[in-house]
Subunit: 129 residues, 6 copies
């Protein structure tokens, strides 16, 4: 993976966090500032600076994977909502996000799909507002 | 969703199972024949005849979602392997599948990613054989 | 399984959802109406029209299985509460439901059992009201 | 709960383990003898001496709950198989066990149901042998 | 394990619950009083009277294990908070607890670590108050 | 955190992987060499170069946390075994590891504890050999 010569992992991570998660991601980083500032850096560096920055899979596909995983696990509603918004940011339509969540009924059960759908509904409403 | 006029959910499911999961899916259906034949039908009808047949999300995207979910849950290795093969069938490259699995380290931890990667390695080898 | 000749899967599902989940189930279906109306149909058709409608296991036993599974998974409190109410609807006593939830301490740990018991307490109180 | 006057929790647990899990349970206890003998006692005392010994829910219902929970969690195949055999021991039919496992597709996804069904098939075959 | 001659499992459990979980534990036991009083006893007897009372691992180490497990499972926030407070009670520093939770990003993913950290923040604030 | 001036994250990670996981960790890194070499680097850099290298929690405590988390999650047996060996490497006794695993019965259920104990037994035997 090639970096802009002067961009550190942290800078690249911050750039990608902004591009992908937008405000929702910024809020998480800010919330960590007093509590665990090193963890805010790790969050920027590894998931965003390392993983999302990789070529080999486009951001739209990456958000499909993240939304599916978080909905299937069913125990990370705040992060699911950040990534539903991120999905919209990188070009997924509301319909596509609903399809992903419905499909999770097959692999993680109807409750996981329902809870994912209702989480998405909140995100869609606040985006429309 | 529009059906071919004479295609039942079961027929549509069987067609899609063949297209997506190929041999791996057929083996699962066959294995259920004596034990729980109605469940073989449900498997064809709901996941394949209903969900994968839906417009609104292409099969490549659907397999990204399934691979991510199964790798993140980490308790369904046989199904993960069927869907890694299915991902190859519907146009994902090995590189893209590896990217999806690596990304799961962020959401479900490094063990989930590692176990997913090693499961993929087995599938890739048997496909190459 | 034999259907009444004119009853579709959807109709049978709606009938069983009413019988089992009552108001709680109706609310879920209504909440999906704008967001994902096809998913409301799938929810009626597969879980209720297909699975709960099957002979071979009585509804009381089916609700024992559902309450146990949802309490053990520990990530689907709304659905657990719908099915605790459903358990009462199909003939489980409060005592029996408490026994099921206590038993989950053995298989999913004390936190899962505790969270299940407190979820049940809310349902019992609103039923008694 | 009243005990036979001279029966300790450990004795009652051993009696119930024998009655419910039979040989499969005995093997687990024996396997712990050198490694963690106190844990063998806890296993007899709390799950069997305390929980399964309670009035308020019959053993058939208790095994429905356990089979459902273990199949839904999907990460405890050896224990699921011990309790599928236990279900047969306390009066569940193979058909009823298959119904419970199929139902788990609704709450924990098709992979959990499939893996539960194939685990049951092995138990049924060795019982028939 | 040697008991004070006149201390029952229940008494020992109550003593250890007080020492470890303090007020948070007492509240859970009190909340069970009407709903499932036998379960309150089991909670005192098995986790506290049996497990935490064992020699062979100090309480500080035991709380590290519990905080890590509950954060990794990610579906038991009330119990995680009780045990973060318990960790402080038995001598873990806030810094050490933050380190444990950050480390969970490796094994259970960043969402589990983040949700654990935010749960800890609430506990730290109410302790400081 | 201060590094030795010439030690990169990767070098520090490799050093700590060797110190903590020993041979078991090396085998994982080697197995990734052809499949996903970047992921081998991430594994060295983030968990080992970043997290385990941090001051603020000693390695013995870190391994308690990891063993507890992996046993509780119950879906990562290979990694649990690597970290049981790692626990021995950083100074945990077999008895202490057994205590951690037994304690997981309280938080993740008896099956998780049992499967953890049997996984440990295999590691202890191969260490003794």
């Amino acid at each position: 993976m090639t970096d802009a010569p002067t961009e550190t992992r942290l800078e690249r991570g911050r750039r990608l966090l902004n591009q992908i998660d937008g405000e929702g991601g910024e809020r998480v980083v800010a919330a960590l500032a007093d509590l665990a500032p090193d963890f805010a850096n790790y969050l920027l560096e590894f998931p965003f600076g390392d993983i999302y920055a990789r070529p080999g899979l486009d951001l739209r596909s990456r958000e499909i994977a993240t939304i599916a995983a978080l909905a299937a696990m069913g125990n990370a509603r705040p992060q699911l909502q950040v990534h539903i918004a991120a999905g919209l940011n990188v070009g997924l339509s509301e319909t596509e996000i609903i399809e992903i969540l419905m499909q999770m009924a097959v692999y993680a059960g109807f409750p996981a799909a329902l809870n994912g759908l209702f989480a998405a509904q909140e995100v869609f409403r606040s985006h429309a507002a």
